[in-house]
């Protein structure tokens, strides 16, 4: 027997562990990754085991199993099943995750992509309650899964971030075997994940798992799939027939909303958008829109919910903007606060209160927290060297200074960075510094500042984090970023600035100073609530009865998870600290970044001008919400999602159900007699509904949207299969069948209108108006109830969505593509060429895919009509590709 392995090959880890564990004796030879050991395979495949009978084993799992099954004992079915799952499901996902973690340094994304698989293992371990995967004894399954997961979970920081208890215990149990330790030490040799780099770079990228950096397709968690049991079906039928009267009534909202004893009190904040600019789509989906969906969902669940937000208005950037526009900072804030409110109103966000940070309450509360920190000894004083302009009579922020670069002598280096050599500069090091405003030479002066003593608060922070992370619902990136911050060590942070536009520091010796925005801004949540109600402390000093959800993009995480909690912990006033921190990744624009200065991307105020309704924007942005990994806004994708998901799926279903009632049953819901198929459909719909509730409760907004579309998909198929329009012309039984199908479908449409409300409030209201649905149905429970009983009269049915045309969307894409004639033409050229190039690549890919599809359809013997339409699409794509490649679109004219 001889075992062949290569260095830094993750597949070899489990094999070596199994070898050590078995106590078998054989030679182990280390070869290079490319070595072709197995004679009949045309490519290298490692690890490989040469058996005594001359046969080769070339799969790591089979080798493990060989080592670990002695003599005659057959591997159990449970082991078989784990190994098959590992081979087909876990391995591709793990390879993808390793690639992200090692080659692209995206550890939190890697972890997120692993999440469904990990949760499947966690559930299985919990269900059996055994020490190991299949029994209380370790088997090949344990070694194999451990070996695959080890590179991804071995770093303690990653393991604590995943938050699966049974899995963690199992993983550590297996890892503590001396054999496993020896194998992992041998594979990684103390270099950690980096030792896998050369192996991973050699692996082909076309693994089944999507390897694109950004993806707009939500992952489907197949682990949750299951068969419907008879009990489930019975329960669904019972719930269906209980009627609206037996359901809970929607909660009456009375302002001011205050926490109630014995209720679920949910406080939701969205990161405060900075006032000096118009928000772009990424900002909008990152916090405001996500928080809005969740707030609407909480209200539909009858939870006592308060949703606040506002503009963050203090700071240097506002002063700069004011100078640019020739206004005072206050005028700038007034102007942009109005723009922001208007944009969010247009998007249909349901703030209970939208405020701002430049208020008296802000000063009052910020200074109170400051005094408390000062009295408790959590503030330090230190001096900082800064440039001061005599003529302007102020300290200059970095961006207000220019001078000669100390490194490359470039004459126009900025105070923070040199544009020529790219090096970071400390403003006081600039040669011949100049004030950007008055061109005077500033002088170096020392300035006294206050620092928040984070190291002193670290102990309390960790204690709080431990319980919060365990109980709370934090996105993996939030957990990861927080852990890394603490791991890197906390340093004192300066909380004051030499500025005018801010909350004044209430100490005489700091008379010309204000609080630094990062200290000040999160206090805005409190002060905005205080402007909403005098009893704000019932929300913000009530940690036992209030659950606080913070929504933000990932760059904001440390301020909400480390710095602000430290301020509040140090102030010792029983503050409500964040329980659930929901952070999104970034949204890109057509494979690039949004850029205000280059005019690239859609900004909040322009969305309205596109003529596309707000609800469509909401839908698409939520559909591609960067949950777990970056995603991209893409015009052609918007068109596709609108036309396929909304128009053909959801809109089609609701419209058909309604039209059947109004055309065939004089607008009255017909009598329903449920047969087995209908009952199954009820159970299936209930299952999707519960899935939706669970996902939204975990704030998996994008995934929950899928459940809605699934239900209408089931509905469409149900109608299509039963063909009520045909049965109406048939026998009595046929007619009664048509009636039942129509009745069930219209009730599904009504359920959809409620589930849709958090995502598309206007469309939801339109459906309910068309169906004349009782307002009392706007509560989400775990049951699908027949709320439109036989005899219910519906209103006028009309189409919900409009088709988006390619030309229309193409025009929009051009308009927002960043053509700005007054800017340097050179730069523009570069960016447009790249977009064209990307287009060409995308189109070429689409042509190839469509070609495959057509071939497949033909091979399957699909009907002519379908094939023809697919062929037509293929030709269209080919034409577009030619045009994009710069070939003249002559054919177009020829065709006419």
């Amino acid at each position: 027997m001889r075992l062949y392995v290569s260095e830094g090959n993750p597949q070899c880890l489990k094999v070596l562990a199994a070898y050590e564990l078995s106590g078998a004796q054989c030679e182990v030879e280390v070869v290079s990754h490319e070595e072709c050991i197995v004679p009949f395979l045309g490519h290298s495949k490692l690890p490989a085991l040469l058996l005594d009978n001359g046969n080769f084993l070339f799969s790591s799992n089979v080798i493990c199993r060989y080592y670990l099954t002695s003599g005659g004992d057959e591997a159990s079915t449970a082991v078989d099943q784990w190994l098959e799952w590992e081979t087909l499901d876990l391995q591709p996902v793990a390879l993808h995750a390793l690639r992200l973690a090692v080659l692209q340094d995206k550890k939190s994304e890697a972890l997120e992509s692993l999440q469904p698989s990990l949760s499947y293992i966690e559930r299985s371990l919990q269900k059996t309650g055994k020490t190991f995967l299949t029994s209380d004894e370790p088997s090949a399954a344990d070694v194999v899964l451990w070996g695959t997961l080890y590179p991804l979970l071995a770093e303690p920081i990653l393991l604590t971030a995943v938050d699966f208890k049974a899995l963690t215990a199992w993983f550590q149990r297996v890892g503590s075997f001396p054999a496993c330790k020896k194998a992992s030490d041998g594979t990684f040799k103390g270099h950690g994940l980096q030792s896998l780099k050369s192996y991973l770079q050699r692996q082909p990228t076309n693994s089944t798992q999507a390897t694109r950096a950004t993806t707009n397709d939500p992952t489907v968690d197949d682990g949750d799939e299951r068969l419907l049991t008879d009990e489930e079906i019975q329960a669904a039928v019972q719930a269906w027939s209980k009627g609206l009267a037996a359901c809970p009534k929607p909660r009456q909202i009375v302002h001011p909303i205050l926490p109630q004893q014995g209720e679920r009190n949910v406080l939701i904040t969205s990161a405060l958008p900075y006032v000096n600019n118009v928000p772009h789509l990424g900002n909008i989906i990152g916090c405001v829109l996500s928080a809005d969906v969740f707030a609407r969902f909480c209200r539909l669940r009858n939870w006592n919910t308060l949703f606040v937000c506002g503009t963050d208005e203090y700071g240097t950037a506002t002063e700069t903007k004011a100078m640019e526009e020739g206004l005072t900072p206050q005028e700038i804030c007034d102007k942009y606060n109005a723009i922001h409110s208007q944009i969010y109103r247009w998007f249909g966000t349901s703030f209970d209160y939208f405020g701002r940070t430049t208020t008296e309450k802000q000063t009052e509360i910020a200074q109170d927290i400051f005094w408390r920190l000062l009295k408790r000894g959590f503030l330090l004083e230190d001096t900082v060297e800064q440039l001061h302009c005599q003529r302007c009579a102020k300290f200059l922020a970095d961006r207000f200074v220019e001078g000669i670069c100390p490194f490359c002598s470039y004459p126009e280096a900025r105070g923070d960075q040199c544009d020529k050599c790219g090096k970071l500069i400390n403003a006081v090091e600039l040669k011949n510094p100049q004030c950007k405003v008055c061109k005077e030479t500033p002088a170096v002066r020392t300035s006294k500042h206050l620092f928040l003593d984070l190291p002193k608060l670290e102990g309390r922070l960790e204690e709080w984090l431990e319980t919060t992370l365990e109980k709370g619902n934090w996105t993996p990136n939030a957990r990861f970023i927080t852990r890394s911050w603490i791991r890197d060590g906390l340093k004192p942070r300066c909380i004051t600035r030499d500025l005018k536009w801010g909350t004044p520091v209430p100490l005489e010796e700091f008379a010309n100073k204000v609080f630094y925005v990062w200290f000040d801004a999160p206090i805005g949540y409190l002060s905005i609530t205080a402007n909403y109600t005098d009893q704000w402390e019932k929300w913000w000093k009530n940690p036992d009865k209030v659950q606080l959800y913070n929504f933000m993009a990932k760059d904001n995480v440390p301020f909400h998870s480390v710095v602000f909690p430290c301020s509040l912990l140090g102030a010792e006033d029983n503050y409500t600290l964040v329980n659930h921190l929901i952070a999104t990744e970034y949204l890109n624009y057509e494979d690039g970044k949004f850029s205000k200065s280059r005019g690239v991307g859609v900004f909040g105020d322009m969305a309205k001008d596109t003529g596309i309704p707000a609800d469509i924007w909401r839908f698409y942005l939520l559909f591609i919400r960067p949950e777990g990994q970056d995603s991209a806004f893409c015009w052609s994708d918007l068109l596709l999602k609108n036309n396929s998901e909304l128009l053909n799926n959801l809109g089609n279903f609701v419209n058909r159900a309604g039209m059947f009632v109004s055309k065939f049953f004089e607008g009255r819901v017909p009598t329903m007699e449920l047969n087995q198929e209908d009952q199954r459909l009820l159970a299936l719909t209930t299952w999707e509904l519960r899935q939706y509730l669970q996902l939204l409760e975990k704030v998996r907004i994008r995934d929950a949207l899928r459940c809605i579309l699934n239900i209408s998909r089931h509905g469409n198929q149900y109608i299509q299969l039963n063909e009520p329009w045909k049965r109406l012309k048939g026998s009595d039984t046929d007619r009664s069948r048509a009636a039942t199908v129509t009745g069930v479908a219209i009730n599904m449409a009504c359920l959809l209108s409620v589930m849709l409300q958090p995502y598309m409030p206007t469309v939801s209201a339109t459906i309910q108006e068309q169906l004349q649905a009782p307002p009392l149905c706007n509560v989400l429970t775990e049951e699908f109830v027949c709320v439109l009983p036989a005899g219910h009269k519906i209103g006028t049915i009309s189409p919900l969505f409009q088709k988006l045309e390619v030309e229309q969307v193409e025009a929009l894409r051009q308009r927002f593509g960043g053509q700005k004639p007054d800017k340097a033409a050179e730069k523009q050229e570069a960016t447009t060429t790249t977009t064209i190039l990307q287009d060409v690549q995308e189109l070429a890919k689409a042509v190839a895919q469509q070609g495959d599809k057509v071939r497949q359809l033909k091979a399957l013997g699909t009907e002519k009509a379908v094939v023809n339409s697919e062929v037509a699409r293929l030709l269209e794509l080919k034409k577009a590709l030619q045009e994009a490649q710069g070939k003249p679109p002559v054919q177009k004219e020829k065709k006419k």
Binding site: V62, E74, W85, S644
Partner: protein
């Protein structure tokens, strides 16, 4: 794909002589229903006032189906679910008390497992057909000095590889069938075994070479 694997499992049952037929589904039984619906939906325009589903819609549904229908599930009498093609197949072999099909020694059973895994990884993966020729080349090399995948004994690996390779063989030209002569010989041998070739049409493989100059 899962449909094919369900047929495959039923054929295997028959081959093994299992009398009681088992209850199968794919993960989530509703997906079979979806399949039925699509077939019907394509053919019948639903009434004059309602548009038939657009081609994009049908395509969408098919993509959706492909994604969802994936893993076969066997529900045992005691209500346990056994998931996965190879896992179920091994379970059936044991239930039929024909363990020799899984190998008689430790080495033999390792080799059988090796090819069972190869079957689901190499022949079941999306895009597997594009790599078909290199797969066939590898197998042709392996089978050069062997009668069966296990060497000198018939095993479950031969039966599942036969089901898996069937569509590849159908697509091959006569010339290619000759080129991968060892695979063809093995294939022809297996399909002639009693009760193996259940649901699949016979692939004709010529005994006499006609492209002699190629080799």
């Amino acid at each position: 794909m899962a449909e094919a694997s369900l047929k495959e499992l039923v054929s295997l049952e028959k081959y093994l002589g299992l009398k009681k037929t088992n209850k199968y589904s794919t993960q989530g039984e509703r997906k079979q229903q979806q399949h039925r619906v699509i077939k019907q939906g394509r053919g019948s325009p639903p009434g004059s006032s309602f548009d038939p589903p657009t081609p994009e819609y049908v395509q969408e549904q098919q993509d959706w189906r492909k994604k969802m229908i994936s893993v076969p599930v066997l529900q045992t009498k005691d209500g346990q679910n056994i998931v996965g093609l190879v896992t179920i197949a091994c379970h059936l072999v044991k239930a039929a008390k024909q363990e020799q099909l899984l190998g008689r020694t430790r080495e033999e059973s390792a080799v059988v497992q090796q090819w069972l895994e190869y079957r689901i990884v190499q022949l079941g993966a999306p895009g597997a057909k594009e790599e078909g020729r290199s797969t066939l080349r590898d197998l042709n090399g392996y089978l050069e000095d062997k009668v069966y995948f296990g060497g000198d004994f018939l095993s479950l690996a031969d039966i599942l590889m036969y089901y898996g390779l069937h569509s590849y063989m159908v697509d091959l030209t006569v010339q290619d069938r000759e080129k991968f002569v060892n695979v063809s010989r093995w294939f022809s041998h297996i399909q002639q075994l009693p009760n193996v070739q259940q649901h699949l049409p016979r692939v004709h493989i010529m005994k006499n070479r006609i492209y002699t100059n190629v080799h």
